[in-house]
């Protein structure tokens, strides 16, 4: 059914485009087979992490404890990495391609930094994200920590600085993120970028170190 006032050509097009695309039985069987082999999403409080790519490790608001077992060499390497990167400092890394033109066009600048080293009950750190986008009317933060949901973490304009800001509690680890500025996904313009965003545009990365280090 088309809009009541839509033109006839549009009705014809949409009627055609809405024709159902059949689901091939072989495809369905393969999908269900893959689902059957996949670890069960057991409960809301116990999210299976074995799939574990960046996107899938998004945090549910109900929180979960992350248990990571490291071998001795891996543990040493991880410790060395955090020491090298600066104990207790949240930072961004991994530059791939700059979007200078985008920054110039929007006049945006941004910064994500840890503002608290106090361990939270959920062992998370507060990370403050800032974006200078004076012409924007709506800015959201999306990332691996909120399932890339643009409706979850909205930035508000700081009356003092004029910047868009939001503080988010994040667990230790690597988090890929981006801003959604009036609907357009934009990497943090002042931050280095992730090598591959997996969502069709370049993102940024923030590392959060363990509050216990």
């Amino acid at each position: 059914m088309s809009e009541p006032d839509s033109p006839r050509w549009l009705d014809e097009i949409t009627d055609e485009l809405r024709r159902e695309v059949s689901v091939r039985p072989a495809w369905r069987a393969r999908l269900l087979d893959d689902v059957a082999r996949a670890p069960k999403p057991s409960s809301r409080d116990d999210v299976d992490e074995r799939f574990g790519d960046e996107e899938e490790l998004a945090q549910h608001p109900a929180r979960r404890r992350r248990s990571i077992t490291l071998g001795p060499f891996t543990g040493l390497a991880a410790a060395a990495l955090f020491v090298t990167l600066g104990a207790g400092v949240t930072y961004m890394t991994m530059s791939s391609r700059a979007r200078v033109h985008e920054r110039e066009r929007r006049g945006t600048t941004a910064r994500a930094q840890a503002v608290s080293r106090t361990p939270t009950p959920a062992e998370r750190e507060v990370v403050r994200f800032e974006l200078s986008a004076p012409r924007a009317s709506r800015v959201a933060l999306v990332g691996s920590f909120n399932d890339w949901n643009p409706g979850t973490t909205l930035l508000s304009r700081d009356p003092a600085s004029g910047k868009w800001v939001v503080s988010v509690r994040l667990p230790p680890g690597r988090h890929v993120y981006a801003f959604v500025v009036d609907g357009d996904v934009t990497a943090d313009p002042d931050a280095p970028r992730a090598a591959d965003d997996d969502f069709g545009s370049t993102n940024s990365v923030v590392f959060v170190s363990s509050p216990r280090t």
Binding site: L17, R18, R28, L31, V35, R44, A140, S201
Partner: protein
């Protein structure tokens, strides 16, 4: 579908939110119902977005697997279909971006690509193929908005939740898609006569 362990228990009549709860409680069969309920629409959207069935099936399969793994993060205040489309849209964007990067290695003449994509096939008068060529010629953002609105019939609020784009921007994209499609169809018609 009648539940195998509970006589008279009909999964097919359950809401998506209830099915999700059952899956989280360990009832994998409930996810089969979710797949059967949404697979056709997802495959349709992906096919229209990506322009070919094989890529669409890959993307749709990936979408359902990701949805399954992420079910614990689904919140019932959001319609499940919107949540599922959010994943699907992202997978389509990723697939399109990867394909675009591959194509850039071989094709650099944008004008040639654009004109080729709307030219009617001499040997085919199939309306659907013609429409797919027109859809393919749209800007991906406009194509996405048009399909969500006019084909999948999401509300603008649902579209905003699924895409992360503001309602006013989405309305503009849909309008531009319609304008462009009308122009392309008219041009194709002129070329064909």
């Amino acid at each position: 579908m009648t539940h195998p362990h509970v006589p008279g228990f009909n999964l097919a009549t359950m809401t998506d939110a209830l099915l999700v709860r059952r899956v989280l409680d360990g009832d994998t069969a409930a996810f089969t119902t979710i797949v059967d309920r949404h697979a056709a629409a997802c495959t349709r959207f992906a096919t229209r977005m990506l322009g070919n069935r094989e890529d669409a099936e890959d993307v749709t399969q990936e979408t359902f697997l990701r949805a399954y793994r992420s079910l614990a993060r689904y919140e019932e205040r959001q319609a499940f279909r919107t949540w599922l489309f959010q994943i699907l849209i992202n997978r389509c964007r990723t697939a399109a971006a990867r394909r675009e990067r591959r194509h850039r290695m071989f094709l650099v003449d944008d004008n040639a690509i654009a004109s080729a994509s709307v030219r009617p096939a001499a040997e085919s008068s199939d309306l659907r193929a013609e429409l797919q060529r027109v859809i393919d010629a749209l800007d991906p953002d406009h194509r996405e908005a048009f399909l969500l609105k006019h084909v999948e019939q999401l509300s603008y609020d649902e579209m905003a939740a699924a895409t992360g784009v503001g309602v006013s921007a989405l309305k503009m994209r849909v309008k531009r898609a319609c304008d462009r499609m009308q122009w392309l169809l008219r041009e194709a018609s002129d070329v064909g006569t």
